[in-house]
Amino acid sequence: MPRGILLAPLWTWLLLLVAAPLLILVVMALATPADGVPPFMLGWRFAAFAMLVEDFYYADALVAALRLAATTAGLCLLIAYPMALGMAGVRPAWRLPMLALLMLPFWTGFLLRIGAWIGLLRDEGLINHLLRGLGITDAPLALLYTEGAMLVGMVHAYLPFAVLPIFTALIRLDPALLEAAADLGARPARVFFSVTLPLTLPAAAAGFLLVFIPAAGEFVIPELLGPPEAQVIGRVLWQEFFQNRDWPLAAALALALLALLILPIRWFQRLGAGA
């Protein structure tokens, strides 16, 4: 019984904030769009799902979103691992300030940070002024509304999610193992590749997923920094919901994205179980 009480908040959370919204999504996805408040009529119709399969537009958007998420997560990992190594390598007294430095930018609003990138990247922005001032270019480079701008924004927004799990794993690493490897004659590179890296791989995978999953549904950054052709699923979902006012189709899209994201989570669980 005490166990039941302890679990009660968890179950309430799951029911209210996971199961109930999911149920509403399913009901909405099976409804028929109509003029009204709310703009659909309840029903039992699979037309929205059929459309997702028939029209390649949606599959393209899903692929574009997964590609963007994978690139973002990959880049984050490449930057986050050395960062975490550096942060874990300093004296313990310095770790907290390092963490604070990592988190500090995230105390300001998300939109403000993206707005700052717009200010940096635009034609009359800081970077272009600098390039022209130094005589490197004579006409402004088109930086904003490009694939690169979008990736910079994505990596900036999601980097801490990749750093934190790796950092945690690195400081928990038993130093005795590293010393033992060194005593047995392994050079630092060898120690890193045969001890440190394998032991922190699950954390790196967790970092990858923590970035990948929210990045797959991202729509603000592609909208504000990306090129018009970056039609990722988040933007398409927004269009269906707000522009076409087809809530059933938007709900079906959201469910499809959710189903697709369960796959990498399963893969991660397997990885965790194996380690």
Binding site: V37, R122, P228, F242, N244
Partner: protein, 362 residues
């Protein structure tokens, strides 16, 4: 942003609104009122105004569609949002007896809206305008001094677009407010629903796609024009005129001009309306009545540089604004202008798909 947050939080607490204090919750376009008018309304009537803003019709419709938005006054554009909200039964009929200033409204303009809202039962025109080109004149004169600028040829002829691409071509991200003008430019009925019409419009757009730098919301285009980032931008008249004023204030040599297309411009009306489930309908009527007063309307037009539908306000409108043909179009231009209609749902999807292809560039 902080003000919006506060307005939002306050809306979450309906309990505060009860009691003897009267309030009206206004949801309007951003940068779209004379702040002094709001203060004056509160001073004269004792009704407090909670003011919140949106920058796209989609946001407004999204909130209204979910129901119980809590707003008392909204300002949807005649087509598509006002028409669609009307069809959805989301608007309350207006009680003319509570709006004596209704008599100041221009009957010819109101008659054009009556095509959507029979006998104007659900809305009064707040401000109106056209869709046309915002141009960065100083740069265009340098790059293409021979270009005639009074038509959409500037944008839609690929050879012109190619010349101007270097200094930034932008199109506002709105299928409903861009496609009719494209159709008109292509010599077709702006409200044609046929698939080959849509294809023709898409072809025209695709012809210039690789020269287009950004397809972004109109509010972002306003900023881009004012900063000198855009050379040619297809967007709302008043936004360009606001950008023009801002660029002049900044004094960095950015010279902006507006051109309504010679082929005939799309005309739109932003309507003052009351949601069907508005909590303070009486105060909302008072607010509409106040805004329709000629002196108040003149102040609003002077501030936001969009024309209003109250002819009696003209004498109090600044001469520079009143005589600017881009703000107040002349008779000939009004005669050649057109109003977009709201197509049926399946056509709308075909349109928005076509628009997505334009954005994606394939």
């Amino acid at each position: 942003m902080i003000l919006r947050l506060i307005a939002f939080l306050v809306l979450l607490l309906p309990g505060i609104a009860t009691g003897q204090e009267r309030v009206v919750n206004v949801y309007n376009w951003s940068d779209y009122i004379d702040p002094y008018a709001v203060q004056r309304f509160t001073r004269e009537t004792g009704i407090r105004v909670r003011y919140d803003v949106y920058d796209s019709l989609e946001t407004l419709e999204g909130k209204l569609s979910a129901g119980r938005s809590g707003y008392d006054i909204i300002v949807p554009t005649s087509e598509p949002s006002f028409a669609r909200l009307l069809r959805a039964g989301a608007l309350a009929p207006l009680d003319r007896a509570r709006i004596p200033n209704w008599r100041h409204l221009d009957p010819t303009l109101m008659a054009r809206v009556a095509e959507i809202d029979p006998s104007n039962r659900h809305g009064a025109i707040y401000l109106w305008g056209t869709v046309g080109l915002g141009l960065r004149l100083d740069r265009i004169r340098a790059i293409a001094p021979d270009l005639a600028l009074d038509s959409l040829d500037t944008l839609f002829k690929p050879e012109n677009a190619a010349r101007l691409a270097r200094c930034g071509i932008m199109v506002m991200d709105s299928a409903t407010d861009v496609l009719p003008s494209v159709l008109r430019w292509a010599g077709r009925d702006p409200n044609a629903h046929g698939l080959d019409d849509l294809r023709a419009a898409e072809q025209a757009l695709m012809g210039i796609r690789r020269h287009v730098r950004a397809i972004i919301p109109s509010s972002a285009i306003l900023d881009a024009l004012a900063n000198g980032e855009a050379c040619v931008a297809l967007t709302y008249s008043g936004d360009v005129i606001q950008a023009q004023a801002r660029a002049k204030e900044a004094g960095r040599g950015v010279e902006i001009g507006y051109v309504a297309p010679r082929q005939g411009a799309q005309l739109w009306f932003d309507m003052l309306a009351i949601p069907a489930d508005a909590p303070n309908k009486e105060a909302a009527h008072d607010f509409i009545n106040f805004l329709l007063r000629p002196d108040v309307m003149a102040g609003i037009t002077n501030h936001v540089r969009y024309p209003n539908a109250v002819p009696g306000s003209l004498s109090a409108v600044d001469v520079a604004v009143r005589e600017d043909r881009n703000v107040y179009p002349d008779e000939a231009m009004l005669a050649s202008s057109f109003i977009a209609s709201t197509p049926p749902r399946d056509i709308e999807r075909a349109r928005s798909r076509s628009w997505s292809r334009f954005k994606a560039g394939r």
